[in-house]
Amino acid sequence: MTDPVAYGIAVLAVLVAGFAGWHVVKRREFGNPLFYAVSVLEVVLIVMLVGGSVALSQTSREVDGVLFISYLLTMVIIPPAAVVWGIAEKSRWGTGVVVVAMLTVAALSIRLLGIWEGIYA
């Protein structure tokens, strides 16, 4: 768990948020390209969950383990939940849900770094 990982995920999430935001502005329906973009992020987050868990078990840092893992799990759950909630909405706001979700993932990623470094301990 390092700065590039956390910021990398945050940047990726913000990019997907931007793509979803473009859908909102252009009134595009939730389509395959956006689905793939969210999927890529989801795969990264799952890798992050596994990698983060391994790193947690091996680190000598004073990391709040429960908080750390709960953040990782929340980040994995949010994208599919947003897709399910958003795809059922046939107006432009369906993709708006994805914007909110992606920005949340970005924020959680930055906070996760803080937890890893013990800032909120």
Binding site: G96, V100, A107
Partner: protein
């Protein structure tokens, strides 16, 4: 929009999503705090975190299933809560040694907790009455 406006459709879809995230954030924070950090002399922020969590969960549910009265009450409590706690946490820092979602008007959450109830009330007003769009 259908003839009968529903609080969970259109823009409401996004609003429910934001409320759901804050329901999760507030209640999860509260559970973690209650398990790990409560000491007898610092009970105020933890009770408030738990209360805020319940309010957000109820507001999310109310908006998602179009229960307007419950939505109005919970969003009203949320508005009063964030402003009261915001003021008190600035005036009396000792009462709040630990953060809640409403501390400092929700600064730790980009002030979204301060803006959210206004958006929620606007949305309830906007979707009220079948004659509106």
């Amino acid at each position: 929009m259908p003839d009968r406006p529903d609080t969970s459709h259109g823009f409401g879809r996004v609003l429910v999503a934001v409320y759901a995230i804050f329901a999760l954030a507030a209640s999860a924070r509260s559970i973690v705090q209650l398990i790990t950090e409560v000491e007898s002399d610092t009970v105020v922020p933890y009770v408030l975190s738990a209360f805020a969590g319940v309010v957000y969960v109820l507001a999310t549910y109310a908006l998602a299933v179009n229960r307007r009265r419950l939505a109005l009450v919970t969003i009203g409590i949320e508005l009063v809560g964030v402003i009261t706690v915001g003021i008190v946490s600035l005036v009396d820092e000792e009462l709040f040694p630990d953060q809640t979602v409403w501390s400092d008007f929700g600064r730790g959450y980009l002030f979204i907790p301060l803006v959210l109830p206004f958006v929620g009330l606007w949305w309830l007003r906007r979707t009220s009455g079948p004659e509106q769009e």
